[in-house]
Amino acid sequence: MAEPLIFERSSPGRAAASLPAPEVPVVPLDELVPAAFVRADLPLPEVGELDVVRHFTRLSQKNVCIDTTFYPLGSCTMKYNPKVNEDAARLPGFAQIHPYQPEATVQGALQLMYDLQTYLAEIGGMDAVTLQPAAGAHGELTGMLMVRAYHDERGDVERKRVLIPDSAHGTNPATATMVGYQVQSIPSDDRGNLDLSALRSALGPDVAALMITIPSTFGLFDERILEVIGAIHEVGGLVYGDGANMNAMLGQARFGDLGVDVMHFNLHKTFTTPHGGGGPPAGPVGVKALLAPYLPTPVVARRARADGSLEYYFDYARPRSIGKIKAFYGNFGMMVRAYTYIRSIGAEGLEHVGEAAVLNANYLMERLKGAYDLYVDRRCKHEFVLSGRRQRRATGVRTLDLAKRLIDYGFHPPTIYFPIVIEEAIMIEPTETESLETLDEFAEAMLAIAKEAEENPDLVKHAPHTTEIGRLDEVAAVRRPNLRWKPA
């Protein structure tokens, strides 16, 4: 059923909330604040509590989500979000503390942050970690600002270029630009590795950094990663590792050990904090020692008290820091969840994640590679990229159509049309938290759809058929923008 806007449910004089009467003496408002500062009208909805509950509960049911549906959105690591994480984050001792409370009153929070910094450093093979960045892209910004600070401080001010593989996520080039660098795109070779000769010819003393996603957004591990990284270091550049796809690497190899100088973690991918319909995310950044002085302030530190017990505190005495990247200390609620996850599955669990995720992806790839073109036919990592070009050429069925048809089969579609360098890309990331049964059901659906695309292309082209809402007119959305409700 269509759900009206909450504004359309409004009725004058209706109200859900009830507030206490003032406990303090009530004086006329204009004695407290001049009338010019007081707004005349506040055109918010007027609805009852049941209206609110019913409206948003109904809306919620118009979403599919991990808890109802396999959601193999490539590059997003839509793995199961443990419920126990949610419980932890909602504990009053975490949710109900103010960022400026005296440190002595929030030792538990500080310890959690300190330990999380330590765990992430270990997992990434890094020397130091900041938890401040709010997202992956925010981590990129933080990391690249540190790269810049490093070069600048050394007087190495001529470094202007940042090299980025053509397969990179859009945030990488956007970040480099925000930091004031010129972006140079490096092509991939036909095994999905960075084209080494193209890379070499792009090298020079003005290269500030390479931003590289490991494994790549093709779902592939660069077979010459050490050479690639070595080449950048040789010209004095630094290597930024985009850790969005790090799930594949857990328990296999650490970014730091590969030579990465600075990286971000996506707590909302690798570390199971929920995606929340688009956020909140969290993008801690790890650095090698050479970049540690530039970390945003503050970092959480630890010292012994007189009695030998440990005390946690914020270290603000960081004169070479790039400064703050966010108010306060980062998305603490997400840290609690990631910490809970790490403690829950522990070393043995983390060490197993990469293997399990990669096995799931390779199994699914094996099942599908006959029916769809495979971008590069070699061992994938956490995800793999199919191409719908065969279907497109044969019967005009586009990848978009295939995706929509999957909805009818009860699945959330994979990421499509990314990486943009792959024609009709279908990027599938099953994650390690999905069972073999689910993978098989999904494979059967994909195979059935491939058949439908051949035999009954119109069925696929007009999918989805089972949803309340059909395909939407996105052109009209831009041509005649309607971006908000307006009072009549």
Binding site: R39, L112, G170, M178, L226, A253, G278, I345, S435
Partner: protein, 462 residues
């Protein structure tokens, strides 16, 4: 615990299907020299153990349900209606992602459309996006946007803007070429329009103020807008959206970009995050708006529906030409605020704002009855105010802590000239009895100091 369902039999079947004999072969393409399969983190815990551990950690913090708190300064203790958490806790909202596939994401899309609408109504601006990371980063993006829109390189930043926000702007723009000009605040706690005028020049992209400002005071936005617009610069205003339940919205006073920290609208303090960056502006700047935007459109059957729109602005498509790199945002916090605003509604938001105002003014009045304590500024304020103290602020806060009260914000941290001052905040959650207790502690401390004649580190007042 263990969230990996594959049994040894499943694993064997999958390996067989792909023609491998051991999972290690899946990683043959990794350089052996860099392999490291052991991680030095603690061993796994059962659910019983991990729950106990987290409970214990959390209980070693002094939570604000049990400690009256007079801190504001960018993070506020407000009541969150039960309904908000029940809705936000629905798996359909929190375990889905960005609504790339609108047919299966109408729930998220419609709530974002409603969120955008609510923010426009609250600020009286034309358009709003789906959220930014927080108030500080939203403000930084607003400054960048103003620079792009005006093609100018200087940002005039009031010193009465939250110190951390100012630091964040500085960090964000350090890679770009424009510079920041701090601007002092006068005795009213606000920015004098004439003073702003004296700093304006052809390179000023925008003037950035906060409303209410960091000291709790209310700037005259209308007058500022007049001055700012005269040189073609934009007025960027960072708001506390809850205050807009009572205060004239900046959109009605000439603001060009309104950003803000949405945390007061239904989001717990959570030690500083996740919060909610608000971003609203004029219709003409639609293509400069950073972040995601949802629009209403129709489906193939003519039904109303919602989609992500204007995506060509975003880094997915523009890549290095994008002016912002934001991708994931604070959708679930935006949902919380949407539910909050729907729930408290027209009458309720006003009531909450009034309670904040009344409590803060009561507290301010009471504090001033204590000899030696006086307000630093004489302008109108909303629910925060600065008190100059005859005793070192740190000492006062320690004494308050002894009786279980979380005191005010020590302004000396950021403003050396205010190192004798505390920024107090009161909301609808502060009980009169607790305010009276706070005042009593100040009175005792003041009296002791007077008696001992000791020289405290705080500046003595005249």
């Amino acid at each position: 615990m263990n969230y990996t369902p594959a049994t040894p039999a499943d694993q064997a079947r999958m390996l067989r299907a792909i023609g491998l004999s051991s999972p290690a072969e899946l990683f043959d393409d990794l350089p052996p020299s860099a392999r490291r399969t052991h991680l030095d983190v603690p061993r796994a815990l059962s659910e019983i153990e991990v729950t106990r551990l987290l409970r214990e950690l959390s209980e070693s913090n002094a939570d604000l349900a049990h400690h009256p708190c007079f801190l504001g300064a960018g993070s506020y203790v407000h009541y969150i209606p039960s309904v908000v958490n029940h809705i936000v806790g629905r798996a359909e909202f929190f375990t889905s992602y960005t609504p790339y596939q609108p047919e299966v994401s109408q729930g998220t899309l419609q709530t974002i459309y409603e969120f955008q609408s609510l923010i426009c109504l609250l600020t009286e601006m034309d358009i709003a996006n789906a959220s930014m990371y927080d108030g500080a980063s939203a403000l930084a993006e607003a400054a960048i946007m103003a620079a792009n829109v005006t093609d100018r390189g200087t940002v005039l930043l009031a010193s009465s803007v939250h110190p951390e926000y100012r630091q964040v702007i500085r960090t964000y723009v350090q890679g770009l070429k424009f510079s920041l000009v701090p601007d002092p605040v006068d005795q009213s706690g606000t920015l004098a329009p004439e003073h702003v005028r004296s700093h304006l020049n052809d390179d000023v992209a925008c003037v950035v103020v906060q409303y209410p400002n960091f000291f709790g005071c209310l700037d005259d936005l209308n007058a500022l807008a007049d001055v700012v617009h005269q040189t073609g610069a934009l007025l960027v205003v960072a708001v506390n959206p809850l205050a807009l339940g009572l205060l004239t919205p900046p959109g009605a006073l000439g603001a060009d970009v309104v950003v803000g920290e949405g945390q007061p609208l239904g989001i717990p303090p959570s030690y500083g995050g996740p919060y909610l960056g608000l971003f609203a502006t004029r219709e003409k700047y639609i293509r400069h708006l950073p972040g995601r935007i949802v629009g209403m459109t129709t489906d193939t059957r003519g039904q109303r529906g919602y989609v992500l729109t204007f995506q060509t602005r975003e880094q997915h498509i523009r890549r290095e030409k994008a002016t912002s790199n934001i991708c994931s945002n604070e959708a679930l916090c935006a949902l919380a605020s949407t539910v909050y605003l729907a729930y408290v509604g027209k009458a309720g938001l006003r009531q909450v704002a009034e309670l904040c105002l009344r409590n803060a003014h009561y507290l301010a009045e009471q504090v001033q009855t204590v000899p030696g304590f006086r307000l630093a500024f004489d302008g109108p304020f909303f629910n925060e105010f600065v008190v100059r103290c005859p005793v070192a602020p740190a000492t006062l806060n320690l004494r308050l802590r002894d009786v279980g009260i979380i005191g005010g914000y020590e302004l000396g941290r950021d403003y050396p000239a205010l190192n004798d001052a505390l920024l107090f905040c009161a909301t609808e959650m502060n009980r009169r009895a607790d305010m009276d207790r706070l005042v009593e502690v100040l009175r005792q401390c003041g009296a002791q100091r007077a008696a001992s004649g000791a020289v405290e580190t705080g500046r003595a007042d005249g």
